[in-house]
């Protein structure tokens, strides 16, 4: 007999692990997670900059992101039994030109409309909040309820906790296709021929989700984008805020460990033609990132970089993810296209996916993120 579960989750990243955890917490006994690589959190979940922020997001994302920050992140370390290093000390999005400030103001105004506490601040206030920043900065948007966490610990925390609650994890389990039986999605077929059967199947496999759901006639309009990040040696404690720029040339924060983690790109990443299972860094990114970071945080010029890495982003056509049951393939739930900002929302998304799998009402309305929103213009 094929291994059978109430819910099969494809993708052992943070969304998959979080969904598994909330399902187990809800008492679902039989949950299977299939991870294609050998390691949990091999993709973007462990490669991102750790931002847990609301500011700067599309308004369609704000309801569930805000829910997560209000209700899930604060107690997550206790709940999972590992320190996810959640720090809610605000997010500064920095600007050096009037044009930057205009851009930031538009984002802030939109967010304010849905109830987010975010405002524009001037040079002096920026310096008060963070004295290490460059004098070239003329203003910023400031969201005091934003923050950051440790993506490595959060991902593995959900994994470890759900594993201890009985969730079955398989690594090296590369999915080839999905198969309907009698009109409902039922089977998950691996490349080695193994078949798993489930009542519900959640696909949360990043860009690869596209190849998987295509086998049941569903497509998500995504592109893939390669992004790089770096980490410095341990530094004395400097500042707790999450930083970003209007120019989007870097983002990052100081971790509890003392090292700084920054994500950044050099502009050449758009055209990368590397296969998805390769994540080789390109030589121009690190220098370019360093120049960008130094331009905003001159105090870090002597901080030594110990490592840099890259990862694939699943960029959705309209910049926000698909988090949605797929009506035409009963039993299928899709969560992909996170467009490079899926980490901060992961606990909420995990909870919502669990609710979708159990056909409960979700904690917030998710209709703006449906899979079938991409209608032709004409």
């Amino acid at each position: 007999m094929n291994p059978t579960a109430d819910v099969i989750i494809i993708g052992g990243g943070i969304n998959g692990c979080a969904a598994a955890y909330y399902l187990a917490k809800k008492g679902v006994k039989n949950v299977i997670v299939l991870e294609a690589s050998d390691s949990i959190g091999h993709g973007g979940s462990s490669r991102n900059g750790g931002g847990v922020r609301q500011s700067g997001r599309d308004v369609r994302e704000l309801p569930y992101v805000m829910y997560g920050i209000k209700h899930l992140w604060p107690g997550l370390s206790d709940e999972l039994g590992v320190d996810v290093e959640y720090t809610q000390k605000g997010n500064l999005r920095l600007g050096k030109t009037e044009k930057h400030l205009e851009k930031l103001k538009t984002l802030a105004d939109n967010a304010k409309k849905v109830g987010l506490d975010v405002r524009m601040i001037g040079k002096e206030e920026v310096k008060e909040i963070n004295p290490y920043l460059s004098d070239d900065i003329i203003g910023a948007s400031w969201c005091p309820t934003d923050g950051h966490a440790n993506p490595l610990m959060a991902t593995l925390g959900f994994y470890k906790k759900s594993l201890s609650m009985g969730v079955k994890y398989y690594t090296g389990a590369e999915v080839a296709s999905l198969k309907k039986i009698k009109g409902r999605l039922r089977q998950v077929i691996l490349k080695d021929g193994t078949i798993f059967e489930g009542e519900k199947v959640i696909v949360a496999a990043g860009y690869e989700s596209r190849y998987i759901v295509r086998t049941v006639g569903i497509d998500v309009p995504m592109t893939r984008y390669f992004d790089q990040a770096l980490v410095t040696e341990m530094q004395p404690e400097m500042f707790p805020q999450m930083l970003g720029t209007a120019d989007a040339n870097f983002y990052g924060h100081q971790t509890k460990h003392g090292s700084f983690v920054f994500g950044s790109d050099c502009g050449l990443e758009e055209t990368m033609d590397m296969p998805l299972n390769e994540m080789k860094t390109i030589s121009m990114t690190l220098p370019s990132s360093c120049r960008a970071i130094e331009g905003y945080i001159p105090a870090l010029k002597d901080a030594k970089i110990v490592r840099s890495w890259g990862g694939w982003l699943d960029m959705c056509l309209d910049g926000v993810p698909v988090i949605s049951p797929v009506d035409v393939v009963p039993g299928l739930i899709l969560a992909c296209g996170f467009t490079g900002h899926g980490f901060g929302s992961a606990p909420a998304v995990g909870l919502i996916l669990a609710q979708m799998a159990m056909e409960e009402e979700t904690v917030v309305d998710m209709s703006a993120l449906r899979y079938d929103r991409f209608d032709p213009y004409q």
Partner: protein
């Protein structure tokens, strides 16, 4: 004395230029261009730093710049690999506590 003056195979150690440096504020001498770690070793200094977490002493381990155990604060900058950083006149070397020059970390 830790300096090898004469060696059965390598012969007499060539004369080198003496330079002055400070270790935790104390005046010391060494040879120009030799690794800071060699000058400290010759002076009998064993402890280069105390670790961040367990506050344990560390010194030279690999001596070729790989293990990073011998790092110290050199001219104000922390985490400098002393085994491959050449000594110069006036180099200021400090014991490193965690990543700082302050003991009470």
């Amino acid at each position: 004395m830790k300096r090898i003056k004469n060696h059965p195979i390598l012969g007499e150690t060539p004369e080198r230029k003496v330079v002055h440096f400070t270790f935790d504020g104390k005046d010391m001498t060494g040879y120009e261009g030799e690794p800071i770690a060699a000058a400290l070793k010759a002076a009998g200094v064993m402890v280069h730093r105390y670790t961040a977490k367990r506050h344990e002493p560390r010194g030279i381990f690999c001596a070729i710049g790989r293990c990073t155990d011998c790092v110290m604060i050199v001219n104000g900058k922390p985490n400098i690999r002393t085994c491959i950083t050449p000594l110069e006149e006036g180099t200021d070397v400090k014991t490193q506590y965690g990543v700082s020059a302050e003991r009470n970390q």
